[in-house]
Symmetry: C5
Subunit: 350 residues, 5 copies
């Protein structure tokens, strides 16, 4: 289950100091440099190789997987980025935000992915620096949701190769938001399955499954709220970096974020509904059990008592000596028993 309370890294450190990076993922740098007609894609061995692409008029997307401090610092220095941006890139676990530094915009985003092994939700912070002709993206580790963007860059279809760096940033953010739908669809599928199971049987692990799905939804909601603000700010930003042609796309991804939010609320309500059904069904189950018990007890306890009477050893019990006493008694038992059955039938317990 996602841990809500994990503090962001670097808390307690002096601002400007960087949290020690403990994970030993090797840093991996990839470059896409393109315009409408050309595309260069390569993996860089060292940071320095990327510097040449900064000042060309082609759009450069430099993606850094890993948090090798030296690499990040080098890039930032060369691309003339504020030290606070560096800190925000290195210190994981932050809220999505957008900061306008004039010559570039800085985004903190949270990329959500499903852990294929255990179905858990995994969040990874992505830092984006959007400059005039370049986009820097900083990820914690390899593996991301940007493959559709890479494919579109390689294919050269659609608008992406014709447009500016702000469209590339949009495309990356859009890929992150789109992934929410995939995750919501998976969670929604699990909720549907739970709903169907709930109509059939009552398993004791259901409350926990409901709780786990709810936790995931709460986690997503916690992520989507600041993202909405970022997208709303991005649209309204009066920056020369945001071209007019991109605005309509920003509105589009903003609409998607709203829709994610709507869906999250609806799923929450559905889960509450399932919990209510579970509780009701548990109560119904209990009623059923108690009915069975009560019917058995109410029929046989009086009969047993009556049999007990004639099992007594009093010397003077005239009935015992009657010739048909036993059969007469059996008849009474049958009448009492059937009477009880009729009583419960009338109460609709049977």
């Amino acid at each position: 289950m996602p841990k809500f309370y994990r503090k962001i890294q670097g808390v307690g450190l002096p601002p400007g100091m960087l949290a020690p990076v403990t994970d030993d993922h090797k840093t991996r740098i990839t470059l896409f440099d393109y315009n409408e007609t050309t595309l260069l894609e390569k993996e860089l061995n060292s940071v320095e190789e990327s510097f040449d692409y900064k000042d060309t008029r082609t759009i450069s997307w430099i993606n850094i997987d890993g948090r090798d401090l030296k690499t990040i610092q080098d890039i930032n220095t060369h691309f003339d980025v504020h030290p606070l941006v560096l800190e925000d890139i290195v210190n994981q676990g932050q809220r999505a935000k957008l900061e306008d530094y004039g010559s570039y915009l800085f985004f903190v985003l949270n990329m959500i992915r499903l852990d294929e092994d255990n179905g858990d939700i995994d969040s990874e912070q992505v830092g984006l620096v959007l400059g005039e002709h370049f986009v820097l993206s900083f990820q914690e580790k390899e593996g991301d949701v940007f493959d559709p963007v890479r494919k579109r860059l390689r294919d050269g279809k659609g608008r992406i190769r014709k447009m500016d760096s702000d469209y590339l940033a949009y495309a990356l953010i859009d890929a992150i938001v789109d992934h929410y739908f995939i995750i919501l669809e998976q969670i929604g599928g699990k909720i549907d399955q739970l709903e169907e199971e709930l109509l059939e049987a009552l398993e004791p692990d259901m409350p926990i499954r409901i709780h786990q799905l709810k936790s995931q939804i709460i986690y997503l909601r916690k992520q989507i709220w600041p993202l909405r603000e970022v997208l709303s700010t991005f649209q309204r930003l009066e920056s020369r970096l945001v071209k007019k042609a991109t605005l309509v796309f920003l509105q589009d991804v903003y609409d998607h974020a709203i829709q994610v939010n709507d869906t999250i609320e609806a799923l929450r309500d559905t889960l509450s509904g399932l919990r209510d059904i579970y509780l009701s069904n548990t109560s119904n189950r209990m009623n059923e059990i108690m009915k069975v018990l009560t019917i058995f007890a109410a029929i046989f306890i009086p009969l047993t008592f009556m049999a007990g009477i004639y099992g007594m050893n009093f010397e003077h019990m005239p009935e015992l000596k009657w010739k048909y006493g036993y059969f007469f008694f059996l008849g009474i038992l049958a009448i009492v028993g059937l009477g009880m059955l009729y009583f419960f039938k009338k109460r609709k317990w049977l």
Copy 2:
């Protein structure tokens, strides 16, 4: 039950690409071309036939059922519509929205209908393009809620034939909102029925019925919220396409949307109330069952014990030899039994 989590189509595709349209409904194009005195209604065999009506001063309503890409593209090209509009028309499952493209307005709306077979709610996206003298409407498949509008056009009564294209757009939106009332009335009827049944008996399927009605209501609420925004924007839009005479009608349909929303909230509260009653009644039922069990057990268990005493085979049990021991004993049993009854009577269990 409505599936909240279905992602909108086209997610994951590059913006500008269209989702592959898998449904093989044949595209059907119908035209209404009218002014106050004349009315032309015909079904068009091909898109091209509609182009002549664009530039006439009569109002043209061109309705396209189906998502045959070629047809939609042709229309859009001829009517000079932005490619993004085309995408929004083809990609189903979006939130209601209104976009002002200057020379025309583009609406995405969600038409809600009841599936007559299973009582489920069915949502279908409708795209509207409102131009100076024409309205284009794009639907996913045949069948819609616009028949009252068509009838008014044919009859020529009321205002509709005298007014501009914005009034036609209003009339279509109004028909969609009006349909909410019909659906709410149906849901309301089911809730009433459930309420009545709940006063009489306690069926185990009631929590599920409550849950299903609640899901439908949540679904409607999810649809009406963005629609309210669209209507509010429509009213406040400073566009030459929205005539002053239409504003009062826009206010009217906006008021209806608000009223739909109020009703949805009230129905939600009612359903919560029913769930509470169900839970209370289940508890009461359990209490009743337990009372029956307890009364039987508390009366007969002591009596059985007493009979058990005199069923023992001790050699020296003086009572057994008393002449009226048995009858004396029966008397004691009667006293104990009646005493217990009195005890439960006093506790108001009987």
Copy 3:
């Protein structure tokens, strides 16, 4: 119980068309024509009689009970009222609203009354047209909450005869809002009674009574919200029809509406509290029942078992032959029984 989901009449009709009026209440027209010194009160046989009073400088209040289309149309034509106002008057079931048509204001209000027979809440739409020297009021049927206003007009005490038509409109709205307090007091009284009963006993119909009261409160809340908006708009309206001297009274009735709203919220909370108490008490009751059962069972079941032992017919059971075996056994029974009682005493079950 109020039906929340009833659609407003006229939905589905072309705007401008009137819903067929099915109720056959005869239309009844009454006139109050007054200034500070004179008062004319009469019942009019036909609409035409009212026309003379329109242009006099005295204030005219023309009240129409019933929805005879012809009458309403005649009045509206003569008083030069927009056709949409006519529609709103005839189509019942609308949300409260205020529309400024320049030379007159149009109000839709909902008058709430208690049905004396079954204690249900009954809502009736009232249309008000406030002109320079006249107020038209349109009601669905006879019987209203305006008698205090009529009495004040007749008595000539207070301000009402000295002030303008806007004050008369205020007085009518005030009468409607005041009636909310009366209804809330009745509902509050029922809640109090329920609360007292709840402290004494646990009736199975209580959840339903709670639910019914809650439904009424939700219904009132649904009515008071739009009314608040109307009153707020009325105050802030920059219309020559609203005199400065009236503003302080409008603030007053607005304050009352706020207070109604506060009270409704508080009553809702109280009802939720009662439901909680009911549930708790049901659980406590169950605990009590189970305790009784358990005590009986736990005491007598072991005793019965012991008696059963000595009811066996083994040939070699030495205890059976002991002289005081029986009495010794009875002693053991007593000890076990008292031991159980002590055990339950210590657990505070007794």
Copy 4:
């Protein structure tokens, strides 16, 4: 418990008419007339005595306990107060409000006190008229929360004697708000006590006590909300009656009102928590009871059955004739009984 639904007095009366004052408290008028150096405190026999103090430059605080109409009217006439103010003073049960009449401000406040006898909350309306050199305060009956203010006036310490009439009004309002803290502390103390009791035992009256405390808190919240608005308006009022030096004190009392509100919300949450604990504990209790019953039943019912077997009178039951049949049987009983105990031990029921 506080009655939320009591309508304000005077509802249904023509505005400008006064509700008949039924309580026969004698009206009592007290005067404080002071400046930095002098202080006159006296009880006035009649209204007229107070008129001399109006036009002096000393600050006059005239407090009227009781609602003797004549007295109030005389004062109002002489102090030139609007008739609507008079109405608001006489008609009890209103929401807190602040009205600016230019030459004076009029406050309606609600003074909350604890009824020492039964611990109930008692609300009394206080009307304040703040003029250039005077403050009039109107109370329903004797006894108030203003004694600390009186003491400060008499002592002459602190700022109060040096400042203007607006500071006196502030001091009176501050005394009212301060009293909320005292009441919240008392309620908080009761909640603490309930919490402690809840950890020890489960009394059936607890849900009712929780409900009563919640009702009091809801009542306080209903009072503090409008008071916050009054204080916020008071601060932002651009009136020559509110001196700049007083503003910082107004901010202070506003902060206190916010804090009262925060505390109310926290106490509400705490009470909800207690209710949850109560429900959980009731369920646990039930589980405990059921376990005891089940253990007894599950152990002794099979044993009793076995004893019943050998209590049968079949002629051919070989075991009965075995020499050690009885002891062998007792051994089996012991094994079965201990087996059941082990079974329940393993299930952690014991």
Copy 5:
């Protein structure tokens, strides 16, 4: 558990009077006086020693632990601070706030710490006065969360020694907010542990533990809300005391406060989820118990009854004399018993 309802000290006192300080902590004054190159850290014996540092251009941080009135007054007088600030410093238990007095800013903050002994949350009010070249901090008692700030001052690394007094104030506030994360992590850890335990067993103290954690979270939320406002105001303040270079850091700490708030909401939801699981599990547990009871009762009660039949002493009971009657009877018992088992197996109770 934190006491929400404790009134702030000094309530009921005349404004300007100070609450009597009852705790006898000795006042302790420490000084940091620094610029980029020099650092003086010393403990002061008396207030007067600090006065020299006020007018130097170095930044002075004077921290006062304890509420010795004389000391505080002396400092305030010398540093020319408004008497109301003095009151706010001495009167504990206030809401966080920020007041702009022109030449200095005054903050009231609440420092939250965990009591290491009992895991309770402890809140201590901190007053900050931010002047041109100095920061005064007033604490109730020794021990605070400012050690990381002190360490950074001593080390001289990072920005702190290079920046102005506003940065020092920021650093102190940041330390307070950072501590929230630590506390949330601890609470989060406890919630995780509870969650794990809940999956394994059902302890009766769990509702109370959930309640206590919830109380702590509510308490934190009550603290973080006003702090957010303070930070938001601090950022937007147009004061020459807030340098442009510091703004980005203020945004940062504001973001942290938002994140604290998000985390608090998520933890609240998680706790509600745990409570739901607990309730569901309790119900499941009950169902299990009842099943065991019912199975035992339903199997053995009929069997016992049948044995009781043949334990009767009727003289004419033919079956008793059959040679294989006993064994035949045992066979019937086995069939009935196994039939019951099959019945419960089919119902999935076993």
